[in-house]
Protein backbone atom coordinates (compact mmCIF):
# COMPACT_ATOMS: atom_id res chain seq x y z
CA UNK A 1 0.00 0.00 0.00
CA UNK A 2 1.32 3.38 -0.99
CA UNK A 3 1.32 6.14 1.60
CA UNK A 4 1.15 9.77 0.54
CA UNK A 5 1.55 12.78 2.78
CA UNK A 6 0.47 16.19 1.51
CA UNK A 7 1.67 19.33 3.29
CA UNK A 8 1.37 17.87 6.76
CA UNK A 9 1.60 20.26 9.67
CA UNK A 10 1.35 19.68 13.38
CA UNK A 11 2.13 22.34 15.99
CA UNK A 12 2.43 22.10 19.73
CA UNK A 13 1.94 25.67 20.85
CA UNK A 14 4.59 27.64 19.00
CA UNK A 15 6.63 24.54 18.18
CA UNK A 16 6.28 23.33 14.59
CA UNK A 17 6.88 19.65 15.25
CA UNK A 18 5.99 18.70 11.69
CA UNK A 19 6.23 21.58 9.26
CA UNK A 20 4.87 21.16 5.75
CA UNK A 21 5.92 17.59 5.07
CA UNK A 22 5.02 16.06 1.71
CA UNK A 23 6.20 12.56 1.00
CA UNK A 24 5.32 9.51 -1.03
CA UNK A 25 6.17 6.17 0.49
CA UNK A 26 5.98 3.63 -2.32
CA UNK A 27 4.18 0.36 -1.92
CA UNK A 28 6.13 -2.79 -1.06
CA UNK A 29 9.31 -1.11 0.25
CA UNK A 30 11.16 -0.61 3.48
CA UNK A 31 11.14 3.14 3.93
CA UNK A 32 13.33 4.83 6.53
CA UNK A 33 12.62 8.14 8.18
CA UNK A 34 15.71 9.26 10.05
CA UNK A 35 16.10 12.25 12.32
CA UNK A 36 17.68 13.31 15.58
CA UNK A 37 15.61 13.45 18.73
CA UNK A 38 13.35 16.47 18.50
CA UNK A 39 13.39 16.45 14.69
CA UNK A 40 9.70 15.56 14.66
CA UNK A 41 9.85 11.88 13.76
CA UNK A 42 7.65 10.70 16.61
CA UNK A 43 5.01 13.26 15.71
CA UNK A 44 5.28 12.34 12.04
CA UNK A 45 4.78 8.63 12.70
CA UNK A 46 1.80 9.40 14.93
CA UNK A 47 0.28 11.44 12.12
CA UNK A 48 0.96 8.85 9.44
CA UNK A 49 -0.32 5.98 11.61
CA UNK A 50 -3.58 7.80 12.43
CA UNK A 51 -2.79 8.08 16.14
CA UNK A 52 -2.96 11.83 15.91
CA UNK A 53 -4.70 14.24 13.56
CA UNK A 54 -2.69 16.86 11.66
CA UNK A 55 -3.46 20.57 12.02
CA UNK A 56 -3.18 20.82 8.25
CA UNK A 57 -2.54 18.54 5.31
CA UNK A 58 -3.66 15.10 4.23
CA UNK A 59 -2.61 11.48 4.63
CA UNK A 60 -3.57 8.92 1.99
CA UNK A 61 -3.28 5.12 2.05
CA UNK A 62 -3.39 4.37 -1.67
CA UNK A 63 -6.30 6.59 -2.69
CA UNK A 64 -8.08 6.59 0.62
CA UNK A 65 -7.79 9.68 2.77
CA UNK A 66 -7.28 8.60 6.39
CA UNK A 67 -6.61 11.76 8.38
CA UNK A 68 -10.24 12.84 8.69
CA UNK A 69 -11.97 9.55 9.43
CA UNK A 70 -14.90 9.18 11.80
CA UNK A 71 -14.34 7.27 15.04
CA UNK A 72 -15.72 3.98 13.68
CA UNK A 73 -13.84 4.24 10.38
CA UNK A 74 -10.66 5.09 12.27
CA UNK A 75 -10.90 2.01 14.47
CA UNK A 76 -11.60 -0.13 11.42
CA UNK A 77 -8.67 1.35 9.47
CA UNK A 78 -6.29 0.90 12.41
CA UNK A 79 -7.07 -2.81 12.36
CA UNK A 80 -5.40 -2.95 8.96
CA UNK A 81 -2.06 -1.53 9.99
CA UNK A 82 0.63 -2.94 12.25
CA UNK A 83 2.89 -1.06 14.58
CA UNK A 84 5.90 -1.93 16.73
CA UNK A 85 7.61 0.24 19.31
CA UNK A 86 10.95 0.91 20.98
CA UNK A 87 9.65 -0.33 24.34
CA UNK A 88 7.75 -3.26 22.76
CA UNK A 89 4.54 -2.31 24.61
CA UNK A 90 3.45 -5.89 25.16
CA UNK A 91 0.64 -6.69 27.59
CA UNK A 92 2.20 -8.02 30.78
CA UNK A 93 -1.15 -9.52 31.77
CA UNK A 94 -0.99 -11.83 28.75
CA UNK A 95 1.56 -14.44 27.73
CA UNK A 96 3.30 -14.35 24.34
CA UNK A 97 0.53 -16.20 22.50
CA UNK A 98 -2.26 -14.15 24.10
CA UNK A 99 -0.45 -10.98 23.11
CA UNK A 100 -0.41 -12.12 19.50
CA UNK A 101 -4.09 -13.08 19.76
CA UNK A 102 -5.16 -9.64 21.02
CA UNK A 103 -5.63 -7.82 17.69
CA UNK A 104 -7.64 -10.78 16.39
CA UNK A 105 -9.76 -10.92 19.55
CA UNK A 106 -10.77 -7.29 19.24
CA UNK A 107 -11.95 -7.97 15.69
CA UNK A 108 -14.08 -10.83 17.07
CA UNK A 109 -12.38 -13.46 14.94
CA UNK A 110 -13.16 -17.12 15.28
CA UNK A 111 -11.44 -18.75 18.29
CA UNK A 112 -10.08 -21.74 16.35
CA UNK A 113 -8.73 -19.43 13.66
CA UNK A 114 -7.04 -17.26 16.30
CA UNK A 115 -5.37 -20.32 17.80
CA UNK A 116 -4.13 -21.55 14.43
CA UNK A 117 -2.96 -18.11 13.33
CA UNK A 118 -1.13 -17.52 16.62
CA UNK A 119 0.88 -20.71 16.10
CA UNK A 120 1.65 -19.65 12.53
CA UNK A 121 2.84 -16.25 13.66
CA UNK A 122 4.99 -17.67 16.46
CA UNK A 123 6.68 -19.86 13.84
CA UNK A 124 7.05 -16.91 11.47
CA UNK A 125 9.06 -14.92 14.05
CA UNK A 126 11.07 -17.93 15.20
CA UNK A 127 9.37 -18.51 18.55
CA UNK A 128 7.74 -21.92 17.99
CA UNK A 129 6.37 -23.39 21.17
CA UNK A 130 6.92 -20.25 23.23
CA UNK A 131 3.27 -19.19 23.16
CA UNK A 132 2.77 -19.90 26.85
CA UNK A 133 5.83 -17.89 27.94
CA UNK A 134 5.12 -14.94 30.27
CA UNK A 135 6.44 -11.71 28.78
CA UNK A 136 8.88 -11.08 31.63
CA UNK A 137 10.73 -14.30 30.81
CA UNK A 138 11.57 -13.16 27.27
CA UNK A 139 14.71 -11.30 26.19
CA UNK A 140 14.50 -7.93 24.44
CA UNK A 141 14.87 -9.49 21.02
CA UNK A 142 12.21 -12.10 21.76
CA UNK A 143 9.85 -9.41 23.05
CA UNK A 144 10.23 -7.50 19.79
CA UNK A 145 9.58 -10.71 17.88
CA UNK A 146 6.34 -11.20 19.79
CA UNK A 147 5.47 -7.56 19.07
CA UNK A 148 6.13 -8.11 15.35
CA UNK A 149 3.93 -11.21 15.36
CA UNK A 150 1.20 -9.26 17.13
CA UNK A 151 1.48 -6.41 14.62
CA UNK A 152 1.11 -8.83 11.71
CA UNK A 153 -1.74 -10.86 13.18
CA UNK A 154 -4.48 -9.23 11.14
CA UNK A 155 -2.50 -9.36 7.85
CA UNK A 156 -1.90 -5.61 7.64
CA UNK A 157 -0.57 -3.98 4.49
CA UNK A 158 1.53 -1.43 6.40
CA UNK A 159 3.95 -1.96 9.28
CA UNK A 160 5.17 1.04 11.26
CA UNK A 161 8.37 0.59 13.26
CA UNK A 162 8.83 3.39 15.77
CA UNK A 163 12.48 3.17 16.89
CA UNK A 164 11.91 -0.56 16.98
CA UNK A 165 15.56 -1.49 17.47
CA UNK A 166 16.76 1.41 19.61
CA UNK A 167 16.51 -0.58 22.84
CA UNK A 168 18.36 -3.59 21.46
CA UNK A 169 22.06 -4.46 21.25
CA UNK A 170 23.72 -4.38 17.80
CA UNK A 171 23.53 -8.12 17.22
CA UNK A 172 19.86 -8.37 18.17
CA UNK A 173 19.18 -5.26 16.08
CA UNK A 174 20.61 -7.03 13.04
CA UNK A 175 18.52 -10.14 13.59
CA UNK A 176 15.33 -8.11 14.07
CA UNK A 177 16.08 -6.05 10.95
CA UNK A 178 16.64 -9.12 8.84
CA UNK A 179 13.40 -10.58 10.19
CA UNK A 180 11.52 -7.41 9.20
CA UNK A 181 13.07 -7.49 5.73
CA UNK A 182 12.20 -11.14 5.30
CA UNK A 183 8.60 -10.58 6.40
CA UNK A 184 8.32 -7.51 4.17
CA UNK A 185 9.10 -9.65 1.15
CA UNK A 186 6.89 -12.50 2.25
CA UNK A 187 3.83 -10.35 2.91
CA UNK A 188 4.44 -7.56 0.38
CA UNK A 189 4.32 -5.04 3.20
CA UNK A 190 5.01 -1.35 3.13
CA UNK A 191 7.34 -0.91 6.09
CA UNK A 192 7.94 2.55 7.55
CA UNK A 193 10.93 2.68 9.88
CA UNK A 194 11.38 5.64 12.15
CA UNK A 195 14.89 5.74 13.56
CA UNK A 196 17.81 7.83 14.67
CA UNK A 197 20.32 5.11 13.77
CA UNK A 198 21.97 5.25 10.34
CA UNK A 199 22.87 1.56 10.77
CA UNK A 200 19.18 0.73 10.60
CA UNK A 201 18.78 2.68 7.37
CA UNK A 202 21.90 1.08 5.91
CA UNK A 203 20.96 -2.47 6.86
CA UNK A 204 17.25 -2.50 6.19
CA UNK A 205 15.88 0.36 4.13
CA UNK A 206 15.39 0.79 0.39
CA UNK A 207 14.60 4.50 0.56
CA UNK A 208 15.13 7.09 3.23
CA UNK A 209 13.88 10.54 4.15
CA UNK A 210 15.98 12.72 6.43
CA UNK A 211 13.96 14.80 8.85
CA UNK A 212 15.29 17.92 10.53
CA UNK A 213 13.35 20.49 12.55
CA UNK A 214 10.06 19.24 11.16
CA UNK A 215 11.19 19.35 7.51
CA UNK A 216 12.24 16.67 5.07
CA UNK A 217 15.71 17.87 4.07
CA UNK A 218 16.65 14.96 1.86
CA UNK A 219 14.90 11.98 0.34
CA UNK A 220 15.92 9.22 -2.01
CA UNK A 221 17.36 5.75 -2.53
CA UNK A 222 19.54 4.72 0.38
CA UNK A 223 22.47 3.98 -1.93
CA UNK A 224 22.23 7.51 -3.42
CA UNK A 225 21.99 9.20 -0.05
CA UNK A 226 24.98 7.25 1.22
CA UNK A 227 27.18 7.97 -1.77
CA UNK A 228 26.31 11.64 -2.19
CA UNK A 229 24.73 13.18 0.86
CA UNK A 230 23.47 16.69 0.10
CA UNK A 231 22.85 18.25 3.50
CA UNK A 232 24.88 18.69 6.67
CA UNK A 233 22.32 16.75 8.68
CA UNK A 234 22.73 13.70 6.45
CA UNK A 235 26.53 14.04 6.43
CA UNK A 236 26.42 14.14 10.20
CA UNK A 237 24.48 10.90 10.34
CA UNK A 238 26.88 9.31 7.85
CA UNK A 239 30.00 10.44 9.69
CA UNK A 240 28.79 8.86 12.91
CA UNK A 241 28.34 5.70 10.92
CA UNK A 242 31.76 5.77 9.21
CA UNK A 243 33.48 5.93 12.57
CA UNK A 244 31.76 2.94 13.99
CA UNK A 245 32.03 0.71 10.97
CA UNK A 246 33.90 -2.49 11.76
CA UNK A 247 35.15 -2.89 8.24
CA UNK A 248 37.01 0.42 8.49
CA UNK A 249 40.71 0.31 9.12
CA UNK A 250 42.19 3.42 10.69
CA UNK A 251 45.92 4.09 10.66
CA UNK A 252 45.98 7.24 12.72
CA UNK A 253 43.48 8.83 15.03
CA UNK A 254 43.97 12.44 13.91
CA UNK A 255 43.81 13.98 10.47
CA UNK A 256 41.45 12.83 7.77
CA UNK A 257 40.16 16.09 6.44
CA UNK A 258 38.35 14.56 3.45
CA UNK A 259 35.96 11.65 3.28
CA UNK A 260 35.83 10.05 -0.17
CA UNK A 261 33.05 7.67 -1.17
CA UNK A 262 33.41 5.43 -4.22
CA UNK A 263 30.38 3.69 -5.59
CA UNK A 264 29.93 0.66 -7.75
CA UNK A 265 32.05 0.85 -10.90
CA UNK A 266 34.37 3.55 -9.57
CA UNK A 267 35.76 1.16 -6.99
CA UNK A 268 37.45 -0.82 -9.77
CA UNK A 269 39.49 2.07 -11.19
CA UNK A 270 42.87 3.36 -10.00
CA UNK A 271 41.44 6.83 -9.41
CA UNK A 272 43.67 7.98 -6.57
CA UNK A 273 46.96 7.28 -8.26
CA UNK A 274 45.90 8.73 -11.60
CA UNK A 275 44.61 11.93 -9.95
CA UNK A 276 47.67 12.08 -7.80
CA UNK A 277 49.94 12.17 -10.85
CA UNK A 278 47.79 14.58 -12.91
CA UNK A 279 46.96 17.07 -10.13
CA UNK A 280 50.26 16.74 -8.38
CA UNK A 281 48.38 16.00 -5.17
CA UNK A 282 49.62 13.90 -2.32
CA UNK A 283 47.13 11.65 -0.58
CA UNK A 284 47.71 10.72 3.02
CA UNK A 285 45.23 7.96 3.73
CA UNK A 286 44.14 7.79 7.34
CA UNK A 287 41.36 5.24 7.20
CA UNK A 288 39.70 3.06 4.61
CA UNK A 289 37.01 0.49 4.38
CA UNK A 290 34.04 -0.89 2.57
CA UNK A 291 30.40 -0.27 3.22
CA UNK A 292 27.72 -2.42 1.76
CA UNK A 293 24.48 -0.57 1.19
CA UNK A 294 21.61 -2.71 -0.08
CA UNK A 295 24.02 -5.06 -1.76
CA UNK A 296 25.94 -2.22 -3.40
CA UNK A 297 29.56 -1.98 -2.43
CA UNK A 298 30.84 1.41 -1.50
CA UNK A 299 34.47 2.24 -0.74
CA UNK A 300 35.17 4.80 1.93
CA UNK A 301 38.49 6.57 2.23
CA UNK A 302 39.37 9.10 4.89
CA UNK A 303 42.39 11.11 3.77
CA UNK A 304 44.30 14.37 3.87
CA UNK A 305 45.20 15.89 0.55
CA UNK A 306 48.36 17.94 0.11
CA UNK A 307 50.85 19.32 -0.35
CA UNK A 308 48.97 22.67 -0.64
CA UNK A 309 45.42 24.04 -0.81
CA UNK A 310 45.52 24.57 -4.56
CA UNK A 311 46.41 21.02 -5.48
CA UNK A 312 43.96 19.68 -2.93
CA UNK A 313 41.21 21.74 -4.51
CA UNK A 314 42.17 20.51 -7.94
CA UNK A 315 42.19 16.89 -6.77
CA UNK A 316 38.77 17.23 -5.15
CA UNK A 317 37.38 18.69 -8.34
CA UNK A 318 38.77 15.81 -10.38
CA UNK A 319 37.47 13.23 -7.90
CA UNK A 320 33.99 14.67 -8.17
CA UNK A 321 34.20 14.62 -11.95
CA UNK A 322 34.84 10.91 -11.78
CA UNK A 323 31.78 10.24 -9.66
CA UNK A 324 33.50 10.10 -6.30
CA UNK A 325 31.63 11.92 -3.58
CA UNK A 326 33.92 14.07 -1.47
CA UNK A 327 32.98 15.41 1.88
CA UNK A 328 35.12 18.03 3.56
CA UNK A 329 35.35 18.03 7.32
CA UNK A 330 35.19 21.48 8.85
CA UNK A 331 38.41 22.29 10.73
CA UNK A 332 36.64 22.95 14.02
CA UNK A 333 34.73 19.75 13.58
CA UNK A 334 37.63 17.45 14.16
Amino acid sequence: MEIRLRNLRRNYGSLHAVDDVSLTIPSNTVYGIIGKSGAGKSTLVRLVSMLEKPDQGEVYYDDKRVDNLSKEELINERRHIGMIFQTFNLFSSRNAGENIAYPMEICHMDKDYIKKRTEELLALVGLEGRGKAPISTLSGGQKQRVAIARALATNPSILFCDEATSALDPQTTRSILSLIKEIQKKMNLTVVMITHQMEVVRDACDRVAVLDAGHIVEEGLVSDIFSSPQTDVTKDFLSSLTNVRESMVRWSKDGGHYTLRFRGSTTDEPIISSISSVAGAVFNIRAAGVQVVNGEEMGVLVADIGPDEASAEKAVKMLKERGVSVEEESKEGM
Binding site: Y102, P103, C107
Partner: protein, 228 residues
Protein backbone atom coordinates in the same frame (compact mmCIF):
# COMPACT_ATOMS: atom_id res chain seq x y z
CA UNK B 1 -9.81 -11.69 88.61
CA UNK B 2 -13.21 -10.63 87.50
CA UNK B 3 -11.89 -10.11 83.98
CA UNK B 4 -10.41 -13.58 83.91
CA UNK B 5 -13.64 -15.07 85.07
CA UNK B 6 -15.69 -13.49 82.33
CA UNK B 7 -13.10 -14.59 79.81
CA UNK B 8 -14.02 -18.13 80.61
CA UNK B 9 -17.64 -17.27 80.36
CA UNK B 10 -19.30 -19.37 77.68
CA UNK B 11 -21.92 -16.71 77.03
CA UNK B 12 -19.27 -14.23 76.07
CA UNK B 13 -17.80 -16.58 73.49
CA UNK B 14 -21.16 -17.15 71.90
CA UNK B 15 -21.60 -13.36 71.75
CA UNK B 16 -18.15 -12.95 70.23
CA UNK B 17 -19.00 -15.63 67.68
CA UNK B 18 -22.22 -13.91 66.65
CA UNK B 19 -20.54 -10.51 66.49
CA UNK B 20 -17.66 -11.84 64.42
CA UNK B 21 -20.10 -13.38 61.98
CA UNK B 22 -22.01 -10.07 61.78
CA UNK B 23 -18.77 -8.22 61.06
CA UNK B 24 -17.81 -10.72 58.38
CA UNK B 25 -21.22 -10.37 56.72
CA UNK B 26 -21.12 -6.56 56.91
CA UNK B 27 -17.60 -6.33 55.55
CA UNK B 28 -18.18 -8.93 52.84
CA UNK B 29 -21.39 -7.39 51.51
CA UNK B 30 -20.20 -3.81 51.74
CA UNK B 31 -16.94 -4.74 49.96
CA UNK B 32 -18.97 -6.14 47.08
CA UNK B 33 -21.40 -3.23 46.94
CA UNK B 34 -18.70 -0.58 47.31
CA UNK B 35 -16.84 -2.26 44.43
CA UNK B 36 -19.96 -2.26 42.29
CA UNK B 37 -20.40 1.45 43.01
CA UNK B 38 -16.75 2.47 43.09
CA UNK B 39 -15.32 0.52 40.14
CA UNK B 40 -17.28 2.34 37.41
CA UNK B 41 -16.62 5.68 39.08
CA UNK B 42 -12.89 4.90 39.33
CA UNK B 43 -12.75 3.81 35.69
CA UNK B 44 -14.71 6.90 34.67
CA UNK B 45 -12.34 9.12 36.64
CA UNK B 46 -9.32 7.57 34.95
CA UNK B 47 -10.56 7.55 31.36
CA UNK B 48 -11.85 11.14 31.52
CA UNK B 49 -8.66 12.50 33.13
CA UNK B 50 -6.20 14.53 31.05
CA UNK B 51 -4.08 12.85 28.40
CA UNK B 52 -0.94 13.35 30.52
CA UNK B 53 -2.64 11.38 33.31
CA UNK B 54 -3.37 8.57 30.88
CA UNK B 55 -6.99 9.44 30.10
CA UNK B 56 -8.20 7.87 26.86
CA UNK B 57 -11.30 10.09 26.57
CA UNK B 58 -10.21 13.36 28.23
CA UNK B 59 -13.20 15.37 29.51
CA UNK B 60 -11.70 18.04 31.80
CA UNK B 61 -14.98 19.57 33.01
CA UNK B 62 -16.69 16.26 33.68
CA UNK B 63 -13.57 14.96 35.41
CA UNK B 64 -13.25 17.91 37.75
CA UNK B 65 -16.95 17.77 38.74
CA UNK B 66 -16.82 14.02 39.41
CA UNK B 67 -13.53 14.37 41.23
CA UNK B 68 -15.01 17.12 43.42
CA UNK B 69 -18.01 14.97 44.32
CA UNK B 70 -15.77 12.04 45.23
CA UNK B 71 -13.67 14.31 47.44
CA UNK B 72 -16.71 15.71 49.24
CA UNK B 73 -18.03 12.22 49.95
CA UNK B 74 -14.64 11.12 51.19
CA UNK B 75 -14.30 14.04 53.58
CA UNK B 76 -17.63 13.26 55.29
CA UNK B 77 -17.00 11.80 58.76
CA UNK B 78 -18.36 8.27 58.55
CA UNK B 79 -20.57 8.59 61.62
CA UNK B 80 -22.37 11.58 60.10
CA UNK B 81 -22.73 9.85 56.73
CA UNK B 82 -24.41 6.95 58.49
CA UNK B 83 -26.95 9.20 60.14
CA UNK B 84 -27.60 11.04 56.88
CA UNK B 85 -28.11 7.76 55.05
CA UNK B 86 -30.49 6.23 57.59
CA UNK B 87 -33.59 7.08 55.51
CA UNK B 88 -31.99 5.40 52.52
CA UNK B 89 -31.42 2.22 54.52
CA UNK B 90 -35.03 2.32 55.64
CA UNK B 91 -36.10 2.70 52.03
CA UNK B 92 -34.03 -0.19 50.71
CA UNK B 93 -33.82 -2.66 53.60
CA UNK B 94 -36.97 -1.59 55.41
CA UNK B 95 -35.14 -0.74 58.60
CA UNK B 96 -32.35 1.59 59.67
CA UNK B 97 -31.12 -0.67 62.45
CA UNK B 98 -29.22 -3.94 62.29
CA UNK B 99 -26.43 -5.53 60.37
CA UNK B 100 -28.08 -5.42 56.94
CA UNK B 101 -29.07 -1.79 57.38
CA UNK B 102 -25.46 -0.74 57.97
CA UNK B 103 -24.33 -2.33 54.71
CA UNK B 104 -25.90 0.60 52.81
CA UNK B 105 -23.99 3.45 54.51
CA UNK B 106 -20.83 1.30 54.64
CA UNK B 107 -20.95 0.67 50.91
CA UNK B 108 -21.63 4.29 50.08
CA UNK B 109 -18.93 5.50 52.46
CA UNK B 110 -16.35 3.14 50.95
CA UNK B 111 -17.34 3.68 47.29
CA UNK B 112 -15.47 6.99 46.79
CA UNK B 113 -12.43 5.45 48.44
CA UNK B 114 -12.67 2.47 46.09
CA UNK B 115 -13.05 4.88 43.15
CA UNK B 116 -9.76 6.62 44.05
CA UNK B 117 -7.97 3.31 44.60
CA UNK B 118 -9.12 2.08 41.18
CA UNK B 119 -8.22 5.37 39.54
CA UNK B 120 -4.68 5.35 40.92
CA UNK B 121 -4.19 1.69 39.96
CA UNK B 122 -5.24 2.39 36.39
CA UNK B 123 -2.98 5.42 36.26
CA UNK B 124 0.01 3.13 36.83
CA UNK B 125 -0.63 1.20 33.60
CA UNK B 126 2.13 1.83 31.06
CA UNK B 127 0.81 4.47 28.62
CA UNK B 128 2.82 2.82 25.82
CA UNK B 129 0.76 -0.35 26.17
CA UNK B 130 -2.45 1.65 25.94
CA UNK B 131 -1.10 3.44 22.87
CA UNK B 132 -0.31 0.09 21.27
CA UNK B 133 -3.83 -1.15 21.97
CA UNK B 134 -5.22 2.01 20.44
CA UNK B 135 -3.00 1.69 17.36
CA UNK B 136 -4.32 -1.85 16.84
CA UNK B 137 -7.85 -0.50 16.57
CA UNK B 138 -9.24 -1.23 20.06
CA UNK B 139 -12.45 0.51 21.00
CA UNK B 140 -12.40 2.49 24.25
CA UNK B 141 -14.45 -0.22 25.90
CA UNK B 142 -11.95 -2.88 24.76
CA UNK B 143 -9.08 -0.80 26.11
CA UNK B 144 -10.83 -0.65 29.49
CA UNK B 145 -11.73 -4.30 29.96
CA UNK B 146 -9.04 -6.01 27.90
CA UNK B 147 -6.06 -3.78 28.68
CA UNK B 148 -6.43 -1.34 31.58
CA UNK B 149 -8.15 -3.61 34.10
CA UNK B 150 -6.08 -6.77 33.42
CA UNK B 151 -2.82 -4.79 33.32
CA UNK B 152 -3.66 -3.13 36.66
CA UNK B 153 -4.75 -6.40 38.31
CA UNK B 154 -1.94 -6.79 40.92
CA UNK B 155 -2.37 -3.20 41.98
CA UNK B 156 -6.17 -3.60 42.02
CA UNK B 157 -5.80 -6.65 44.25
CA UNK B 158 -3.87 -4.68 46.83
CA UNK B 159 -6.47 -1.92 46.48
CA UNK B 160 -9.22 -4.39 47.33
CA UNK B 161 -7.20 -5.58 50.33
CA UNK B 162 -6.91 -2.00 51.51
CA UNK B 163 -10.65 -1.48 51.04
CA UNK B 164 -11.57 -4.57 53.06
CA UNK B 165 -9.32 -3.51 55.92
CA UNK B 166 -10.81 -0.02 55.86
CA UNK B 167 -14.29 -1.51 55.92
CA UNK B 168 -13.42 -3.61 58.97
CA UNK B 169 -12.58 -0.33 60.72
CA UNK B 170 -15.74 1.36 59.46
CA UNK B 171 -17.90 -1.59 60.42
CA UNK B 172 -16.68 -1.31 64.00
CA UNK B 173 -17.98 2.25 64.01
CA UNK B 174 -21.27 1.08 62.57
CA UNK B 175 -21.89 -0.51 65.95
CA UNK B 176 -22.66 2.99 67.19
CA UNK B 177 -25.98 3.01 65.37
CA UNK B 178 -26.86 -0.49 66.39
CA UNK B 179 -25.38 -2.26 63.46
CA UNK B 180 -24.06 -5.15 65.45
CA UNK B 181 -20.66 -6.70 64.91
CA UNK B 182 -17.47 -6.61 66.94
CA UNK B 183 -17.44 -2.83 67.32
CA UNK B 184 -20.94 -2.95 68.76
CA UNK B 185 -19.87 -5.67 71.18
CA UNK B 186 -16.85 -3.72 72.32
CA UNK B 187 -18.89 -0.57 72.93
CA UNK B 188 -21.97 -2.08 74.52
CA UNK B 189 -20.33 -4.68 76.72
CA UNK B 190 -16.78 -3.48 77.01
CA UNK B 191 -17.41 0.24 77.46
CA UNK B 192 -20.98 0.72 78.64
CA UNK B 193 -21.08 -2.32 80.94
CA UNK B 194 -17.48 -1.95 82.13
CA UNK B 195 -16.37 -5.42 80.96
CA UNK B 196 -12.87 -4.86 79.59
CA UNK B 197 -12.63 -8.53 78.64
CA UNK B 198 -15.26 -8.02 75.93
CA UNK B 199 -13.42 -5.01 74.64
CA UNK B 200 -10.14 -6.90 74.68
CA UNK B 201 -11.46 -9.95 72.87
CA UNK B 202 -13.31 -7.85 70.28
CA UNK B 203 -10.16 -5.88 69.51
CA UNK B 204 -8.03 -9.02 69.28
CA UNK B 205 -10.48 -10.63 66.86
CA UNK B 206 -10.45 -7.47 64.72
CA UNK B 207 -6.64 -7.49 64.72
CA UNK B 208 -6.60 -11.13 63.66
CA UNK B 209 -9.09 -10.41 60.86
CA UNK B 210 -7.01 -7.50 59.58
CA UNK B 211 -3.80 -9.54 59.67
CA UNK B 212 -5.47 -12.41 57.88
CA UNK B 213 -6.91 -10.21 55.12
CA UNK B 214 -3.57 -8.46 54.66
CA UNK B 215 -1.77 -11.79 54.45
CA UNK B 216 -4.17 -13.24 51.91
CA UNK B 217 -4.20 -10.00 49.90
CA UNK B 218 -0.41 -9.88 49.77
CA UNK B 219 -0.28 -13.49 48.64
CA UNK B 220 -2.76 -12.88 45.83
CA UNK B 221 -0.91 -9.76 44.67
CA UNK B 222 2.41 -11.62 44.70
CA UNK B 223 0.85 -14.49 42.74
CA UNK B 224 -0.50 -12.14 40.10
CA UNK B 225 2.90 -10.50 39.70
CA UNK B 226 4.76 -13.82 39.59
CA UNK B 227 2.56 -15.09 36.77
CA UNK B 228 3.68 -12.27 34.45
Amino acid sequence: MEALQSLLDARMWSLVGTSTWQTVVMVFLSTIFSMILGLPIGVLLHVTSSEEQGGIIPRPVFYSILSRIVNILRSFPFIILMIVLMPLSRLIIGTSIGTMATVIPLSIAAAPFVARVIESSLKEVDPGVVQAAKAMGSTNWQIIYKVLLPEAMPSLASGVTLTIINLIGYSAMAGAIGGGGLGDLAIRYGYQRFSPAYMFVAVVVIIIMVELIQFIGDRITARLIAKR
